[in-house]
Structures are given as structure tokens and as C-alpha cells.
Amino acid sequence: MKAPPFGYVKARELGQVFDLLEQHGDEAKILAGGQSLIPSLNLRLSRPTLLIDINAIADLQGIRETADTVVVGALTTHVALEKSPIISRHVQLLAAAMPHIAHPAIRNRGTIGGSLAFADPAAELPACATALDATFILRNRDQERRVKASEFFHGLFETDLKPGEILAAIEFPKATTSHRFAFSELARRHGDYAMIGLAAASPQLGMLRLAYFGVADRPVSAERAATHLIRDGAAGVEAACASLADDLESSGDLNAGPQTKLHLAAVLLRRALPALLPSA
């Protein structure tokens, strides 16, 4: 199908984006890589009257390092993350996830900001941001606010972004020497959205975040399971797997029912264990 008619503006700076968002409200949509938005227009699932193309805005580009964080501009493409030496050194979980996101031609245009703002519950990046306890930097005309990943995702395609606000950058803590991480997912075909996946990070001994994706309407942190593993190490794996039922409360989807999802969640956890636990 073809997209319905809409207007198009290539914004040159952020002020112009905020003006247009103010004038057009709900009717306007930000266009980043277009790799989720344009399919939804082509399928006529969405009918904005105006697309605001933000690709030319320099403020939203680039990957920067500070002493203990890495700040990634919203417009950073998947392929730029995949190739970045800063990311492969300091945010290894992201580097490990990248090859699983869609296919090369889509990664050439799709952006991290677009993926996080879109908030597809089966997407890799929202779960990675959750596992890494990333901070989202949101901007409107007057101010900037910082929101933790665990508070950013509200539900299916729903986020903490307010009218007139955009996602400007994402801040990831740099991995320390004791940092451990694991990423794995199950998909029917390489590059497809996952049936289920796990992004896990342990910034230091005694801390562990297990962020599942493809199980509910947003990334889910399996806190009970993590507690078992922190307390008992590899010996806690049976208890951890048993507690996934309470942690995930998966309702199942087109890919698989809740029982299958739960089974697969445990499979992924066992696969991740050696990388996460020093003694496993």
C-alpha cells in the first residue's frame, strides 16, 4: 500500500522542531530513520498530516564520552553503534545486540532514538537500555529532563515522552573492569524481531539486571530471578528459573503462548549464566 498524503519539513534546528510540534500537536510526527514510521504509514496504521524530518539536526548526532558515561545522540544509526570503537569498548552489551537488530539495509538508516521512542516490546534496544540502567535525555523548548530507562517505557508503543518533547540523547554508564553482560535472543530468522530475548548486565558483583524483551508490553526486569542469582550464584539457577513465572507474567503473543515463552525465558537465562557469573 502507499502512504496517505502528508506534509514534510526538513528541520534545520531544534527550535524549528519545537515550533512545528507546538503548531501541529498530535498531527505531526518526528521522522528519524523512518524504518518503523514509514512502514506504519505504508500500512496506513498511522495518518499524521506532517512529518518533521530531524536527520539534519547536528545537536542530535554523535557518540561522546565523559569520565564515566557514554552519551549517544538520538540520531545515531544502528550501523554507527555497531562500528563505534567507543561502544565496543565501554558499552559492550549494545555492541553485542546490534547484529540482531533487523538487517544491514535497515540498520543503515534506523536510529537508536527512533527505536527507543517507538518502544516496540520485542525490540532489542529498550531492553538493553533497561539492563544498563541508561538515562534518557528528553528535551522540549524550555528544558531538559532526565528519565531512567525503567520509567521511560509505559507500555505497547507508549513512553514517557510528552507532547512537544523529543528524545535528544541516551546516556549509558561506562562498563567497569568487573562489568559482566550477556545478550541472547530467539528469532525465527536472523534479523527478525525476537520471539523472546534477554539483555543482562552486572555492573559489579552483587548487582544484576535481567531485562527480557518480547514477553510483555515493555521490557521486563526479572528481579526475583536476579536476586536468586546474586545470592546463590550458579546454585541459584533452578530457583531463578522457577521465579521467572512471577517476574515476567507473560501473556504470550502471536509467536508463542505464555507457557512456551516462560520455557524459552529459562533457556535464555541458562545460556546467559556463564557470561554473567564468575563461578558458573
Partner: protein, 162 residues
């Protein structure tokens, strides 16, 4: 319908055109410029038949607007063929029976062209990962992987990609 003027280099030729905001790059190339080598399959990013190159990288022609190509360099299968840039890939696809109906082939070649350029040392698994976004309903992929692996090896042996 809202119109925009764009200036774009398509297969080496500089053009100025008016396009409607909602027109996809692939429809612009096929319908306005009669470059019908790139195909339109699913129209939502899944099949890869519309893959072309924009500023040297492979993109989905159905997931980019023509107006977004303003100032860009676009190469379609016609341009890639005429310049000889992928002559060895085309020859290998032929030799290895890597196409039957040919519907997927222009997109497959544009994707493969990026692979041989960027990853001269790719192994079979990496070839498969790279073409994972391009559907082929005829060949079963094996012959396509053979053809690309052959080209990679030949180019490496020529010393072009040390």
C-alpha cells in the same frame, strides 16, 4: 498534494524534479525516471526487493521518501550494472544459478555489492547474515551464498582487498 523540489544524482546523472511529499524513493525511481530494475515487493521493509544504494550504502527504497533524497547520490541496479562495479557479482550469479525468476536479484545484488565492498573477508555465515533481509522465493539461497563467496575469494586473490 504537497510538492517539493529536489536535486539528486541518480546513476551519475544530476536531476532536478518536483516530487510529492508522500512519494517513496522507489516509486520515484520506477515511475518518474522509468528505472524499473529495482522491484517493489512488500512495500514495508520486509522483502528487500527494493534495495538500492544511497550515498554508497544499501537502503530500502520503500522506506525512504523521494524528498529525503534531496542532495543525495542514488545508485540503482541500472547504474551499478552500467558502471561495471558489480560485473563480477552478476557473472557469478549467472554461473552459480543464483537466480531463477530474478525478482529478488536487483536487491540481492545491491546488498551483496555493499558486503563485498565493506567485508572482504566475510565467511559463509556472515554472507548469510548480510543477505538475511532479502527474500528469495526460488533459489533456496545456497547458490546465492556460493556466488557471493566466489566473488569475495576472487577479489581477495586479485589482491584488491588485502
Amino acid at each position: 498534494m504537497e510538492q517539493h523540489e529536489i536535486s539528486v544524482i541518480v546513476n551519475g546523472q544530476k536531476l532536478r524534479r518536483r516530487v510529492s511529499a508522500r512519494q517513496h524513493l522507489i516509486d520515484f525511481l520506477r515511475n518518474e525516471l522509468s528505472l524499473t530494475g529495482s522491484h517493489l515487493g512488500c512495500e514495508h521493509g520486509v522483502c528487500g526487493a527494493c534495495t538500492i544504494q544511497v550515498n554508497g550504502t544499501a537502503v530500502r527504497g520503500c522506506l525512504m521518501l523521494a524528498v529525503q533524497a534531496d542532495g543525495a547520490k542514488v545508485e540503482t541496479i541500472e547504474g551499478l550494472s552500467d558502471s561495471g562495479a558489480i560485473a563480477d557479482l552478476q557473472e557469478a550469479f549467472h554461473q552459480y544459478n543464483a537466480l531463477q525468476c530474478g525478482f529478488c536479484t536487483p536487491g540481492m545484488l545491491a546488498t551483496a555489492a555493499e558486503l563485498v565492498e565493506l567485508h572482504p573477508h566475510a565467511d559463509r555465515e556472515e554472507i548469510r547474515a548480510h543477505i538475511s533481509g532479502n527474500y528469495c522465493r526460488c533459489t533456496g539461497y545456497h547458490a546465492i551464498v556460493d556466488a557471493i563467496a566466489f566473488v569475495l575469494e576472487t577479489r581477495r586473490n586479485k589482491g584488491g582487498a588485502a
